[in-house]
């Protein structure tokens, strides 16, 4: 037996052992680390609505906001995960269109976002979706604690027995004055028309002038009326070109005031530079201008009458009208035909950088005969050579010439333009080429010479996003919005589609990344140094940012948890 073992079995066992170990040491499970990854992106037209402070100098972002979605296309609007419980994460609201939506220019999907929050004036903003592309919208909100230029506000408590004339005074950026008179003995009524048993009323009145872009664009839906009810009973849509407007809110006895036994008398002075948009000439005494009220809850404008222009004791042109119920009130022309409504401008960027990281503002101005009619700034304009964007401008005037000028977003008052577009006709559908030369001070319309991959020391980052289900061993490739904020507070908003996006990031700069998904923020910090980096100080966001030694690009993988899987 011993001989058999030593002569036969021992070498056999040793050989077998070696063989088995060789085979056994192979990676047995080829699928180790592989996860079932489901693409759940059945939705269309991912939309990110960024609520910003209308005052560009404000240091805070709106938060604690609540929103509702209304309008003809509301049934086609969903949260990222297909729900209807719309939540604003920080100042961002991401929504998508449902599987059945098929938006086109001729058959757009239209819906209205109503937003309110503490210390912000509630407002409505309508979105018209005409394609399946990702889109961002910047909705300015009036911060009562940091009013933007051209806006005035006052809060007051009035004894009803004596009444009061509340004045919103002129400011350096708002020459217009508003006076609202509450007659002595006025009774207040709630939304059911019942008299509120109270002796005083608290008023918050916000007046928007016409002399600044921030104020002019603060009209609900930037002045595009989705539903306008005329005195003759007809209903239509149109564009308001306001000569000034007021947002009046009153509370009494713990209730919101809706109407009065005696209408309020309002005197609204006109901006001296205001021109009748119909005649494009200064207004004169005796001219009439329609008066409109706006029901925020119904997103509905109602023609209330006309105001006749007069002169006050100081020689200023004023419009007098009566306010029988509370809402937004404006004196404004309402146009159909003189504007092309909400216009999608297709922009193609030519630049000397391919993956820019700095924040730029694109300001579109429509003018005729040297006079600017309307201007609108887009403060998240991303410079990326060859990229295309669709931006939407409301109440675009017909027959005007548009032009885009791009400037870095900076606190410096003398920020130099980095480029822009040639002139284009306001209502045309042609693609607008925007030339931007980032690396050197440029004339208004520079011609880029050479294109480099990145802006200065920025690197190309290929993002790969995954949302890992907590309850199941599967993952999804999300369509999600990512906000990058660097240590100079420069912000980039990136649409990550089915887990993929390409961005530019600078080495040695700390970025805060925030992914907003289904009303939840997942964030973390990353600084790309050396040949790799990982996300730190994370709130649900993890990932690594290794640099490919060959290409110099960063192939980042980012993951966050998802607890809505079944």
């Amino acid at each position: 037996m011993k001989k058999i073992f030593t002569s036969i079995l021992r070498p056999a066992v040793l050989l077998s052992l070696g063989l088995a170990l060789t085979v056994g040491c192979q990676q047995i499970n080829p699928l180790e680390g592989v996860e079932l990854t489901v693409n759940n992106n059945v939705y269309k037209s991912p939309i990110l609505i960024e609520f910003v402070d209308a005052n560009p100098n404000s240091k805070t972002l709106p938060n604690d906001l609540t929103v509702t979605i209304s309008g003809p296309g509301k049934d086609l609007v969903f949260t990222d995960l297909g729900g209807k419980d719309f939540k604003v994460a920080g100042n961002l609201l991401s929504v998508v269109l449902g599987q059945n939506a098929n938006p086109t220019e001729s058959a757009p999907v239209e819906f209205t976002v109503s937003v309110k929050g503490p210390n912000y004036v509630s407002t409505n903003y309508s979105i018209v979706v005409t394609d399946l592309e990702s889109a961002t919208y910047e909705v300015p909100l009036t911060n009562l604690n940091a009013l933007p230029d051209g806006v005035g506000a006052i809060s007051k408590t009035t004894l009803l027995a004596t009444g009061e004339t509340i004045t919103v005074p002129a400011t350096s950026s708002k020459p217009e004055v508003a006076k609202i008179s509450i007659a002595p003995g006025t009774q207040l009524k709630d939304e059911n028309g019942l008299v509120i048993n109270t002796t005083n009323v608290s008023s918050t009145i916000v007046q928007y002038g016409t002399g600044t872009e921030e104020a002019a664009n603060s009209l609900p839906n930037e002045g595009e009326g989705n539903t306008i009810k005329y005195k003759d009973g007809t209903t239509d849509f149109g564009t308001f070109l306001s000569a000034g407007f007021l947002d009046i809110e009153m509370t009494a006895g713990g209730k919101n005031v809706k109407s009065f036994s005696t209408p309020l008398d309002v005197t609204l002075s006109l901006n001296p530079s205001y021109e009748d948009p119909e005649t494009e000439a200064p207004m004169n005494v005796g001219d009439q201008i329609p008066v409109w009220s706006y029901d925020k809850a119904k997103d509905e404008w109602t023609e209330e009458g006309v105001a006749t222009i007069a002169k006050d004791a100081n020689g200023n042109l004023v419009a007098n009208f009566k306010v029988s119920h509370l809402s937004i009130w404006t004196i404004s022309r309402n146009y159909k035909g003189k504007t092309c409504g909400t216009k999608t401008i297709r922009i193609k960027v030519n630049s000397d950088v391919r993956y820019g990281t700095s924040k730029f503002s694109a300001k579109i101005t429509y003018s005729k005969n040297g006079k600017a009619k309307l201007s609108k700034s887009f403060n998240n304009f991303k410079i990326s050579n060859g990229s295309s964007y669709n931006i939407k401008v409301k109440r675009v005037p017909s027959g005007y010439t548009g032009r885009i000028v791009v400037t870095p977003v900076s606190t410096s008052p003398n920020t130099t333009s980095k480029g822009g577009s040639k002139s284009f006709m306001s209502c045309n559908n042609s693609v607008v080429i925007v030339d931007v030369k980032v690396k050197a001070t440029a004339p208004d319309i520079p011609t880029p010479t050479t294109t480099t991959d990145t802006e200065s020391d920025a690197v190309k980052v290929n993002l790969d996003f995954t949302a890992a289900c907590i309850s199941k061993n599967i993952s999804i490739k999300p369509t999600v919005w990512l906000k990058l904020v660097d240590d100079t507070n420069t912000e980039q908003l990136v649409s990550v589609v089915e887990g993929k996006a390409i961005i530019g990031m600078k080495k040695g700069v700390k970025y805060t990344l925030t992914a907003t998904y289904n009303g939840i923020d997942f964030s973390g910090e990353v600084t790309i140094n050396g040949d790799k980096a990982t996300i730190v100080s994370s709130t649900g966001l993890n990932g690594s940012f290794p640099i490919d030694a060959t290409t110099g690009e960063v192939n980042a993988t980012v993951i966050y948890p998802l607890n809505n899987c079944q």
């Binding site: 058999i4 002569s7 036969i8 079995l9 056999a12 066992v13 050989l15 077998s16 052992l17 063989l19 088995a20 170990l21 060789t22 085979v23 056994g24 040491c25 192979q26 990676q27 047995i28 499970n29 080829p30 699928l31 180790e32 680390g33 592989v34 996860e35 079932l36 990854t37 489901v38 693409n39 759940n40 059945v42 969903f78 949260t79 990222d80 995960l81 297909g82 729900g83 209807k84 790969d464 289900c469 199941k472 061993n473 599967i474 999804i476 490739k477 089915e498 887990g499 289904n518 998802l562 809505n564 899987c565 079944q566």
Partner: protein, 228 residues
Amino acid sequence: MQQKTTFSLFLLYVCLISYSNVTKAQSLGGSSHKLGLSLNLGTTPGLDIGYAISPKITARLGYSYFKYNTNTTAKTSGEDVKLGGDANVSIASLSFEYHPFKKSSFKLIGGVSYFDKGQIALVVTPTGTYKFGSTTFTPEEVGNVQFTVDYGKQYAPFAGIGFGRTVPKRRVGFGFEVGSYYTQTPKVTLTGDKRLSSMSEQQAKVQENMKDWKYWPVVNLRLAIRLD
């Protein structure tokens, strides 16, 4: 992996002990017979024709063919899935067995094989519904994952050990062989369709996992028939 390795070694040990008796019976004395045929049943089923060059060395020409389809259900990562498998193997080989001991059928085997086909394909289809937020996907909407391993056409050396002779001393003999081909790393594909289309992004990970899959294990039981 450790459990699998331990189990493999245990099986090997049991086989060796069992065959030591067979070995003893077959390995008595020399033989003048030259030609034999061996039927292999195991991981590379097929036939070998053997020619005894000397009492200790036999040359073998063999062909292995293996095609297998399966459709079953399984639970993987907690998920119920349907598994559709398809293995397709076609190997021609030239090898030599060397019997170092006169009184034993223990042998060392070495040779080279030509892999005409060495493919394994697997289709994994989730059978349950998946719900993300308010969105539910049926199995039909989710789709499936296709995983293939292809060794391609190649020459691969083979080494092994065993018991029993391809040209047995008696008319019929039994044997056992264990060994491994040394192949090139197989080419892996991982794809998905419908909602699983992004699975292909993980192909590189699987390929990396299989970079050492160069050892194709061979474990065969053999029935040998002397032809002369």
